[in-house]
């Protein structure tokens, strides 16, 4: 194979999407899970549950990634492992040990909750995870949440990252609603009080913007169930919004992080209507317009490839860059999501011939030298393949929304041009250690 396979944005826009995600190049192929395929994993996400411990009930291999990450990011003392062996899987004996393990963790007196995480093994054998959670909670006298880390369903609507977010949201408790508080679902970081979103909402009488990451105690997390509503800013948190609407009657709105000024303005208009308030966003829009102008003046004509290891739709980011005069030599997307649809159409209007590659296709790996070259690669997955480009890692630990998302993106890219770091150095600063 001399050329990696691709689909143009125009061809992609013409394909029927259907209701779910679909593989860019068809599903029947091996995957090359390259070193740059980074992101926030299940275990780091689980650690957003404050004052909690995580019990991995799994074969040794499944707990492995969490252990190194836990050591690196300082939460090793919150991770516990119940390692399975062949015999206990065959007999199911390990299931009886789970309540005892939870009891041991509860007995330490350090934690308010335990999140039990099971894996493909139990997903395939049909283990009643919720039932086990209930019996463990009874035995140990501690709050127990449960989740699966089962990548066999990763392409479906309820992949592991969706499920772990649901487990966290499942700890929200209902009660008297607090009209001055809203939740943001789908972040890995708090929404700072000085952020654009917090200030815009403050103007609408909302003075508390809550996130799981921003909760210091388990009690604070439970209180999130009393917020007025949920703003879902990442597609993986949509199921949480639906769950909370059903369980606690909390309304929610999907406002996936966008990067095009017009889309952002439209999203704010929808949010205003949802909240029944006039949101004042003019100064942020103006600030973004100026940032875009400056970026365009300084970098117009540069080539920036957009990888998939980013937060948001790579098509949306590409469209924003193209509209600023940047050339986007290619986009990486292996599974095309329903939420990519509008951005794909926007990008088609601007640059219909933009090739879209799958970053995990074996052909992309074996023929990576034939990928279109770029001055910069956004996302460590694209950066791995483009040896001559400046690599820019996505800062998953930050939350940006609204015009601030665009301004922050441009600042990130500017820093990349002005103070480039090697891909390897960024990998070390990322979630993977090798």
């Amino acid at each position: 194979m001399t050329e990696p396979r691709f689909v143009t944005v125009s061809e992609l826009a013409d394909k029927p999407q259907g209701g779910g995600s679909r593989p860019l190049l068809g599903g029947c192929r091996l995957h090359y899970n390259g070193p740059g395929s980074t992101g926030f994993g299940v275990k780091r996400t689980a650690m957003l549950l404050p004052e909690s411990a995580m019990l991995m009930v799994s074969p040794m291999g499944c707990g492995r990634s969490g252990s190194v990450v836990a050591e690196k990011f300082g939460f090793a003392d919150r991770m516990f492992y119940l390692n399975l062996d062949d015999r206990s899987v065959a007999s199911g004996a390990y299931l009886e040990r789970i309540p005892e393990a939870v009891k041991t963790i509860a007995g330490l007196g350090t934690f308010k909750a335990v999140l039990i995480c099971m894996t493909c093994i139990d997903a395939l054998t049909g283990t009643d995870l919720e039932g086990i959670g209930r019996s463990a909670a009874r035995a140990a006298g501690i709050r127990v949440a449960t989740t699966f880390m089962d990548p066999i369903v990763r392409d479906g609507r309820f992949g592991p990252m969706v499920q772990v977010r649901q487990a966290i949201a499942g700890c929200f408790e209902g009660g008297e609603p607090q009209p001055g508080a809203v939740n943001v679902l789908g972040t890995f970081a708090p929404v700072p009080a000085q952020s654009e979103l917090a200030q815009v909402l403050r103007g609408a009488g909302i003075d508390s913007v809550r996130t799981a990451a921003g909760c210091r105690t388990f009690g604070e997390l439970e209180q999130m169930g009393r917020s007025r509503c949920n703003l879902v800013i990442h597609h993986q948190a949509a199921a949480c919004g639906e769950d909370l609407e059903k369980r606690l009657g909390m309304p929610f709105i999907r406002l996936l992080t966008a990067f095009g000024p017009e889309q952002i303005a439209a999203d704010y208009a929808r949010l205003g209507a949802f909240l029944g308030a006039q949101l004042r966003t003019d100064r942020y829009a103006e600030s973004a317009r100026r940032a875009l102008e400056r970026f365009s003046a300084d970098f117009s004509g540069k080539r920036i490839a957009v990888g998939e290891a980013v937060c948001g739709s790579p098509f949306d980011i590409a469209a924003a860059l193209v509209s600023a005069g940047i050339r986007v030599p290619f986009v990486f997307r292996d599974m095309v999501l329903p939420s990519d649809g509008a951005a794909i159409r926007r990008l088609r209007a601007l640059a219909p011939d933009t090739p879209v590659y799958s970053g995990v296709d074996p052909g992309t790996f074996t023929a990576s030298r034939s990928l279109p070259q770029a001055d910069m690669a956004l996302g460590l997955d694209a950066g791995y393949f483009l040896k001559n480009a400046v690599s820019v890692a996505w800062p998953f630990e930050e939350t940006h929304f609204g015009f601030d998302a665009l301004v922050s993106l441009l600042a990130l890219l500017r820093r990349g041009f002005e103070a480039p770091e090697t891909h390897r150095a960024q990998m070390r600063g990322s979630y993977l250690t090798v």
């Binding site: 091996l30 990634s65 050591e71």
Partner: protein, 340 residues
């Protein structure tokens, strides 16, 4: 409680050991997983993956594949990926997902061989054992696949099993350390051909207990002698220097590296030195006082009374109650690349 770990993290699993043993050997390695297991290998257990020349793919198994047992689809996927050619073998490595549904990986490997014409074999890893077990299976499977019926006369080569990062102490580069004269590595490109011409070898060395099964197989058929050994390396020199005037020392690593370190320490010290390991060990290479661990309690007991433990820094929490000083001897099987 059996299998419960409060302080110690899960070690590199058997499939990582299997992939590592085969990664640079000139074949195409397919981990039969949904994607998470290959992330462990790529992200934590196999530093050569970054920019290395090995070809390693995930089978991207999905729920429906496990329900309907679409082995034919897996064969197709592998054949398509192998189409560019240049591979001396195709290895299929098992994981928890295929293990629990009882996939016959050996049969799939035979179908792959038929479809591609490339020598193919399976390593039935389950993700439930540590890397040393997977390395052992992979080296034995590779050897079994390529050993000839008869051998040519000896020509004085030395063959090395186990020159992989997972067996290394600290930042040791085992290939560089072992490359002396006519040395051939069964973990490097050309391994298949080297095994086909096994008669050229005068002796074999395995750098960890994992290689013993393959070595015994060769010895039983061709009478080629072997030994388990680990070189006196820079990482071990540094660790030995940390021994100082300690009187009771526990070394925790894979047995071959730990034994060499013990020998180095004894050159300058009268300390009581024990070697402990959670991984495969060769009883004949163990001393009476050497413990084999399967849980945290045994580890803590072994460290009790020691004034120095030489081990990966990730053992720190499990050893805290012993009060022993910890001198770092990083091991990828615990801490990945964090401390190397």
């Amino acid at each position: 409680m059996k299998g419960f770990f409060r302080y110690l993290p899960p070690f590199s699993p058997d499939y990582s050991g299997a992939v590592s043993a085969l990664f640079s050997a000139g074949g195409m390695v397919v981990l039969c997983d949904p994607g998470g297991c290959s992330g462990n290998v790529a992200g934590y257990d196999e530093p050569r993956f970054y920019g290395g020349g090995g070809v390693f793919y995930s089978a991207a198994i999905r729920e429906l594949d496990t329900i309907f047992g679409r082995d034919d689809k897996l064969v197709k996927k592998i054949a398509a990926a192998a189409a560019p050619g240049g591979y001396s073998f195709i290895a299929l490595v098992g994981t928890p997902a295929v293990s629990v549904i009882g996939t016959d990986l050996g049969a799939v490997a035979r179908a792959v061989e038929k479809e591609t014409g490339l020598p193919s074999f399976a390593v039935a890893a389950t993700g439930m054992e540590d890397y040393s077990a997977g390395e052992q299976q992979a080296e034995a499977a590779l050897t079994e696949k390529f050993l000839p019926e008869t051998a040519e006369p000896s020509r004085g080569l030395t063959g090395v099993f186990g020159a992989i990062p997972l067996n290394a102490a600290g930042g040791d580069d085992l290939v560089s350390l072992m490359k002396r004269g006519r040395t051939v590595f069964f973990s490097e490109k050309g391994a298949a051909d080297a095994l086909r011409h096994i008669g050229r070898f005068e002796r074999l060395v395995c750098l960890s207990p994992s290689g013993i099964r393959a070595c015994e197989l060769i010895r039983s058929r061709f009478g080629i002698p072997f030994e388990m050994a680990y070189p006196e390396s820079p990482a071990l020199e540094k660790a030995a220097a940390a021994a100082g005037d300690a009187e009771k020392i526990l070394i925790i690593h894979q047995q071959a590296a730990a034994n060499t370190l013990r020998r180095m320490i004894r050159k300058t010290s009268d300390a009581d030195v024990a070697v402990g390991s959670f991984f495969l060990r060769l009883d004949a290479a163990a001393e009476e006082q050497d413990p084999a661990f399967s849980g945290e309690d045994e580890l803590a007991r072994a460290a009790d009374g020691c004034d120095l433990v030489i081990a990966d820094p990730m053992y720190r929490r499990a050893l805290a109650s012993s009060g022993a000083r910890l001198a770092p001897l990083p091991h990828i099987a615990l801490s990945g690349d964090l401390y190397r």
